[in-house]
Structure formats: C-alpha cells, structure tokens
C-alpha cells in the first residue's frame, strides 16, 4: 500500500503525515512513500486548469500503478475516487485515513486509549458531501472520546471556506467562512475540533490566527504546566501576552504578541477571556495521541510491577 500524503500533510502540516505513519507502524501495516510524491490534480481540476490537471493526473497514476493508495486529504480522496474514473476512466483503489483507522480499531489492530474528552468533528466537503463518507471518522471519535456534533453536521456541514481555490485567490473570504465554522464548533462547548482534511485544518487554523477577522487572538500552551499564555486584544489588535494560571487569573506579562502568534486560540474581549481555546487537529493526530496515552499507561504499569517485585 502506498501512503500518499498529499501536498499539505507533506509540506505544511507534516505532523499529520507523521502521526499517520506512527499509527500504520503501530498496527503493523506495510506501506511505502513515493519518491518525489506528486499531485493528485484536485486543485487544478477545481480551478479550471483541466488540461494541466490531466497531465499531472496521468503522471501520478503512473507512480501509483495498481497499488492500493491511502490518503490523508479529503481532496485527494475525491480526486482518486471520483475524478480519476470519470476523467481518466481509471479506477483507483483508494482509502481515506479515517476509513482505515475505523477498520483498524474494529479489527482490534490498534487499541486507543478512551477518555471522556468532548470533541467535535468537522466534515470536509470533499469527504462528506461529495463522497458520502460521514461515518468512518465519527466511528473513530465515538470509540475513543465523546463526540459532540455541531448544529450543522454531515450533509449540512458548513464548508471551512478553503475549497475551490478560494483560499489562495480570496483569503479574506476564506477566513470569514472559517470564522463562522469555528463559531459553530465553539457552540458545542468542545475544546477540540477534529477533522480529516489538511486543507480544512490549514484554513481553520489560519483564521484563528488572523486577529483582524474578529476579536479573536492567539494563545498557546506554555510548556507542560497548567499555565497558559494568552494574547490580550485591544480593539482587535494583539497588544500584550500574559501568562495565566488555570483559574484564569493573569499572573505575568511574558512576551510580546509576535512571539506567540501560534497554534491555539482564545477569545479575549475588553480584556476579559470569554472564549475557550479551540484546538484544531487531524484525526490521525488525535488517534496517535490516544495510542501514546495507552502506551504511557502500559509502560507505567510495567514499571510499577518491576518496582513491586
């Protein structure tokens, strides 16, 4: 089986590809990466470059041969599953990571740690509405955590705003849409938003980082302790960064805004922290984290035993 990471997981969100590979290893699945992995053609197809897409798709098809293909990206999935047969007349044996993960859990090949954490799930358009795969990622989440649905889910899931070349040509429109989707997610009360399309993650995360879209600003976890770093907004501009303790009392100014322009986000209005942070990750990262938890627990138990004997 070829693990076709796709451009975003390969070059922008390598953590997604790393997590996926870890899971494959844990499950004992043989796989290979392509040398000089190519492009599925999705972005070209969606933006009107049909002739260029055809060439690219034929090259990629040659790389793949008759192998089974595993993809992380919903866009790749739709391209291989739907566009290749329709345009090139060639079926590709493709599986999305969410589908493989669901199977691995079902077959007992991986046993992720189960917690009561509340997570919400965003359906990527290319996986859900376009291809009808709503259940596999939910199965993984429901097996390992508490899934809380957004009002708009499955068929009616709101687009993250990145698709169709809008993110590259009209980033502001993309961000506006992403903000609406993040609000949908926040309403669930979950602090973790899981999806399984690196394009969606990239857009949702960058919308969170763009303080000008709304009154949202970044904050990121400061190390391992219970102190968070928060950027305080004044008139929607990040002005200051303070460390806050778990009870949300400000304890110290630790850095300037630029330092923490990062991954996690909190809502700060009029100097008050009103929103919870929303972490946005791929299903593979979520699952790998759960497998690590299990490992830690197992090792922990073994160590205890040794000490005991």
């Amino acid at each position: 089986m070829i693990y076709f990471r796709g451009c975003v997981a390969r070059e922008k969100l390598q953590k997604v590809a790393m997590a996926t590979e870890e899971i494959l290893k844990e499950a004992g699945i043989d796989y290979q990466l392509l040398d000089n992995e190519g492009c599925c053609g999705s972005v070209l197809l969606r933006t009107g470059f049909q002739e260029d897409a055809l060439k690219i798709m034929l090259e990629t098809l040659k790389d793949i041969g008759e192998e089974k293909v595993l993809v992380s990206c919903a866009g790749c999935y739709r391209a291989f599953k739907k566009d290749y047969p329709e345009i090139l007349g060639k079926e590709v044996d493709v599986v999305h990571t969410s589908q493989l993960f669901a199977d691995l859990i079902k077959e007992g090949k991986i046993q992720p740690h189960v917690t009561e954490e509340r997570v919400t799930y965003h359906d990527p358009c290319h996986l859900g509405r376009h291809m009808g795969e709503y259940q596999a990622p939910r199965q993984v989440l429901e097996e390992t955590a508490i899934l809380v649905e957004m009002d708009r889910n499955r068929q009616r899931s709101r687009c993250c705003g990145a698709g169709g070349g809008v993110k590259s040509a009209f980033p502001e429109t993309s961000h506006k849409i992403a903000r609406m989707r993040l609000e949908d997610a926040e309403k669930t009360g979950a602090e973790l938003l899981v999806t399984c399309c690196p394009f969606c993650i990239l857009n949702l995360q960058s919308a969170e980082e763009d303080g000008k879209v709304s009154s949202r600003v970044q904050f990121s976890t400061a190390g391992e302790d219970s102190v968070d770093v928060v950027a305080i907004a004044a008139d929607e501009d990040v002005v200051d960064v303070v460390a806050i303790a778990a009870d949300e009392d400000v304890v110290d100014v630790v850095a300037t805004a630029d330092v923490v322009r990062g991954t996690n986000v909190g809502l700060v209005k009029d100097g008050e922290i009103t929103g919870k942070r929303m972490r946005i990750i791929d299903l593979s990262q979520f699952l790998q984290n759960r497998l690590e938890m299990k490992l830690t627990k197992r090792l922990g138990t073994e160590v205890d035993k040794e000490v005991g004997t």
Binding site: C7, R10, C39, R46, C159
Partner: protein
C-alpha cells in the same frame, strides 16, 4: 454589504432555516420536489416548443405578448408602454431587478412605487441591495429600518414592526390611487393554458392586477406546460422560501377583465385590468440552454443562498443583480459575458456543493461553475494566485511556493 448587515442577514436566514426544517423533511414535500424537478427539467428541455405554445395561448386569451431579447430592450419596451404615466406601481420581481427596470423608468421620468414592504424599504435606503429573493430586506434590522423610514418621511417612526408597516402602507396606498399601471412578475407560466401565476403574501399583486393596465414581466425560463404544473412549482417555491406550505395569495391571470353575463355577449373592462401585457424576457436564457441549461431549472426560492458559505460571508456581492449566489454567477455568463461572470464571483465559490443539496430541484451549481472556470482558463483568464499554483505544480509537483519538498 457591511459586516453588520451580513450578520443580520445571516440571523434572518437562520430563523427561516429553522422554521422550514420539519416541513422540508415531510414526505409530501419530498414527493412534491421530485415532481417539480421533473416538470422543470422537461420544461427547460422543451423550452422552444413551450414558448410557441405559450405565445399562441396567451394571445388566444386576450393577453398581449411582447418578446424581449435582452435587458435593455425589455426595459425600453416597458418604458414605451408607460411613458405617459407620472407614476407606476410595481410588485417584487427578480426579473425586473435583472433588467434594472426601476432605475430605467425613474431615470426617464416615470416614478416607480414599490408595493412590497421589503422592496419599498430597500428603495428608501440608497445603501441597500436586496439580500434574498423573497425577503429583500433580510439584511436590515428593525432599528435600521425605523431610521430609514423616519428619514424618508421626516417623522419619528418607532422601531416597532406595526408602526413601520403602518407608515409605509399609508404612503403606498395614497400613491397607488394615482397609478394606472401595475407591473408585476410571474412565478410560473402555464403554456398550454395561457395563464400566468403569481404568488404573494401582502395582497399587493391583487391590487396591481386591478389597475387599468397590468404588465407582467417574466423570464422565458418560467414556462411549464399546465396550470397544475405551475401550482406545483409555486407551492414548492413557497415551502422552500418561507417555510409555509402555501402563500396568502395565488393569482392566476389568464385574460383582461371580462363578462358575458348579458346574452353571452363578451364585454371587456369590468373590474380588473383593461389590458394585460406579458413581456417575455430572453436575456441570455436561450444561450444558457446551449451550455448550462440546468441553471434555468431554478424556481426562485432562494434556498441556495441561505446556507451558502460564500453568500453568508459576502452577501449579494456573490451573484448577479437579483440572481443571488452561485447559480446567479452561472446565469450571468449567459445574460452578459465571461467578464461579468468573473466579477459576479466565478472564482469565489468554494465548490462545497451545499447549494445543490439545499435546492429543491437540485441545480448542479458547482459542476456548472467548474465548467465555466475551464472556459475562463481556456480564454486565458484566471486569478494570478491560481496560475502561480498551477506553475508550481507543473514545475515541482507541489502547489506551494514557500515550502521545501521532503
């Protein structure tokens, strides 16, 4: 549109969406959708034949028929009919919006009295554009509306719906007394019966149809074979647009006012219009048949924009005049040209496919948009960023300029 107006619009949309949830899942609605989808597909497929049939039967019924090739001609045809009037009354019509009728008439010295409450409010506000085909003032909140109306009449109007309605209604009724011509659209046209069907909730179209002359401007895409088909179409439109199964009023106009009560002798001009004139508008529709006829299946319910992520972010900027959202973008290619289509948002659609799912007749908008993008790219026009990405992919098998290959 301002962000604050977009927020109000989305809030109105959310209320509408909630209201119709149960009804949309009702088995009867599902069956009606299936029936109407077939009616619409077939009608568009046989449009030329239906046009011939409609023309003959409307004439037969005593309705004058004028064919208008494009927006400019249609506006001028109507102007020629009303040029001696100081003021004409008009109901809500997306087709009139498409040809810029109100602006054209007013520029040429004929005042236009919008009789739909939402339209009238939007008419008072120079900054506004209608934001939903059925609820044109969806983007304005009550306080803003009260301000607009207060300013217009130079009186203090309370931010309370009844107070606003009373003031606007009194003014409309006073002015309506001076009108001899009513201009309306039609929601569906029955070709075999020679009947035009229009729906409304306010009762304004009933009033307009009783004036001396009733001009009905309608796109040729609104044709269906029979009155039964037409009623199915408008019923479904009402369900999707408002969350109710039927509108307050359905008017069927099949002739000027007439009687034969005296020895079966036909006499015209009883209570209603002396003249009924149907202006059938092409404006790119027949051209659309060649490359995107699916966009003509539309029944005008506006369901597609309610949950469209791009429309929720940009408002009516995404679309063409009163043809809102992605389907309007597609139609603009045929009404105007590729440049207008691009300006309307050809490359702003995320292709998420939500609109087709929300559409009762499943207009395949994202497929049509992809097709038009291919045409645009072939003609050498695409966003600079897209061309960069294409070049990157061709050069190094990756869309990104700034990342290292691993």
């Amino acid at each position: 549109m301002k962000d604050s107006q977009i927020n109000i619009m989305n809030h109105s949309f959310a209320i509408l969406d909630n209201r119709r949830t149960t009804l949309l899942q009702d088995e009867r609605t599902v069956k009606l959708s299936e029936r109407v989808k077939k009616i619409r597909e077939k009608a568009i497929h046989h449009l030329s034949l239906l046009m011939k049939t409609a023309h003959e039967n409307l004439l037969e019924n005593g309705i004058e028929v004028i064919l208008a090739d494009d927006a400019e001609k249609a506006a001028d045809i109507i102007y020629q009919l009303v040029k001696n009037e100081a003021i004409v009354a008009k109901s809500k019509s997306n087709t009139a919006g498409e040809i810029g009728l109100t602006d054209y008439l007013e520029k040429n010295g004929v005042d236009v009295l919008e009789t739909d409450l939402g339209d009238r409010i939007v008419q008072f506000d120079p900054e506004s554009k209608p934001s939903h085909p059925i609820g044109p003032a969806s983007h304005l909140d009550m306080v803003k509306i009260a301000n607009i109306v207060s300013k217009k009449f130079d009186i203090e109007v309370k931010a309370e719906p009844r107070a606003i309605l009373d003031v606007v209604k009194a003014d409309i009724l006073e002015k309506l007394g001076h009108c001899r011509v009513g201009i309306t659209g039609a929601n569906s046209v029955a070709a075999e019966d020679g009947s035009l069907l229009m729906v409304h909730n306010e009762g304004n179209i009933s009033l307009l149809s009783m004036l001396d002359t009733h001009i009905i401007l309608v796109g040729i895409d609104k044709l269906v074979p029979t009155l039964e088909d037409a009623i199915s179409v408008v019923k479904l439109e009402t369900i999707y647009a408002t969350g109710k199964t039927v509108p307050a009023y359905m008017n069927v106009i099949s002739s000027p006012s007439k009687t034969a009560d005296i020895e079966q002798i036909l006499l015209k001009d009883m209570y209603g219009a002396k003249r009924v004139i149907a202006v059938l508008l092409d404006n790119g529709r027949r051209k659309a048949l060649e490359g995107g006829g699916e966009c003509l299946w539309c029944i005008g319910c506006g369901s597609c924009v309610v949950t469209c992520p791009v429309y929720n972010a940009l408002g009516p900027e995404f679309g063409y005049l009163r043809h809102l959202g992605g389907r309007g973008v597609v139609l603009s290619r045929f009404i105007k040209d590729m440049d207008v289509c691009i300006d309307s948002g050809l490359f702003s659609c995320t292709l998420c496919g939500q609109c087709s799912l929300e559409c009762p007749v499943e207009v395949p908008t994202s497929e049509m948009i992809e097709k038009l993008r291919r045409e645009s790219v072939k003609g050498g026009i695409s966003p600079t960023e897209h061309r960069k990405i294409k070049d990157n992919i061709k050069r190094k098998r990756s869309p990104f300029t700034d990342s290292a290959r691993s």
